[in-house]
Amino acid sequence: MLRLVINRLLLGAITVALASAIIFGAVEALPGDACVAVLQRDAVGQRLENCRRELGLDRPALTRYAHWAAGALRGDLGVSAGSGKPIATLLGERLRNTLLLAGCTLAVGIPLALLLGVLTGLRRDGLLDVVLSTGGILAMTVPEFVSATVLIFVFSIGLGWVPGIVLAAPGAPIGDFFPGIVLPVAVLTMVMTAHILRTVRSSIIEVMASDFVRMATLKGVRRARIVWRHALPSALLPAVNVIALTIAWLLGGVVVVEKVFNYPGLGRFMIDSITERDLPVVQALALLVASVYVTINLAADLLTLALDPRLRTHRGRG
């Protein structure tokens, strides 16, 4: 078991390193560099050379990658080419905002998805099931900017209940994000609930038809106890992976939703830094998001192993 955990940790570290190398390589291969982007028309002669020396762009690519990676390992991500501020500070503010948005969404969405998943699974093809299954496909597939537009139209313009836009600056105190955060959370909750509900529903159907549930029923265990104490825990296992991917999706920058609601999170930061060709920031963002993605998937794998001892004897998913 310990060997397996160490093995997974190592593979995860390799994946993150590769992802950062890919982004570095891609940025290298594209024409133009951070200095050309920042100086724009002034990017000629002495000024260009000075800027390149300042940012260390005159050294060979491999040296720069090694230097950057060594800094990143120490937590030093360098300075933004556009604003000259330390990237760690800029990133920290946006990360906090993204965590706030993701946290609110998960706090609403996970309990909701589990509850609805169990209810629809128990009453298969009932009215609630049909309505939620159809609505679920709508929520899962309709682009976020479409559902966001509709919600803004109804709840912000039509009813005037909540603002349709977030006006807080990236570093504003958390209180400033309310009540503007309500609609973005609603849009994201719809998407994630639909995905998790679907998984929980199908595993509840499977588990309720299994021998141990029939056994419990025959023993005279109350139905509510069977559902919540016996069926739900085993139905959760397949949901762990979906929930993990959902968290990775929420933390990886929900670009469109952030753009629609003007929310100052990682997603908008990503768009802005790419359009401004602020390449040091792009690299830092790629590193952060790849690490989050790998860590969460790793955690889900390990959690699955912990919950289901049968998997430990195999080589796993490989």
Binding site: M140, P143, T199, V256, R277, V282, A286, Y293
Partner: protein
Amino acid sequence: MAVLARMLARPSGAIGLGLVALHLLAAVLSPWITPYDPTVIDAALMFAPPGAGHWLGTDQLGRDILTRTLLGGREAILVTLVATPISVAWGGLAGIHLGLAGGRLDDVLMRVVDAVLALPWILKMLLIIVTFGAGVNVLIPTLAFFYGVPVIRVARAATQGVVARDFIAAARARGHSRVAIVWHELLPNVLDALMVEGAMRWSWMLLAFSSLSFLGFGVAPPTPDWGLMIADSRSFMAIAPWAALAPVAALSTLIIGINFAADALAKAVGLDRAQSAPH
């Protein structure tokens, strides 16, 4: 054909295929059936509500919304319809080969696949679009490449499910070449999974394409495009909601149609699609 019949037998499959067919038809025929020029600006007609001359009203520049909505899916459908088969083909073949080969090559390349998947889609796509522009000749290869990477995983897993079976060993014992094994033994067995994957890729690509347009990195104005139309009309939603409504309905019905069809296809070939995560 048997698969198609089974898809049509389900209400969701029939609705899905119907919606997709309707949209394809509109995309092909729209240049001949649209009543107005999609780009001509008429200041006197700004924000005309739906009525006799303009059934779905006009937008902030007095352009006919019915015309623009009918034409607004053409580029999205063209790009994604070309990119989807390419992505499934290259990702599928690469995945089958890796699943068959195994060993060190498989270990190394799957790390690279994981690394590419760990990076957010917008970061990967925008890096390329900002540099090379958002023309059709850039978007097709970019979408085809990035959406093929996850197909590698699916095809590899499906291949690993069959590669240990007896008929593969038999083909090897008969001395068949690797190409022959891939083509005649493996491909028919993973084709169902690839077809379902292809349908899903198509809907995700449409999502990515219209999101890019919505964000201002895709189709350039004044070309009519749903993502762009929704972005433009958002500021005027309080005074002219019909301008946003038509492209919202068009894009939604196409994507829902594809997903209904994909669901019906998965059920028709006996695959379980219960587990999916936000994309």
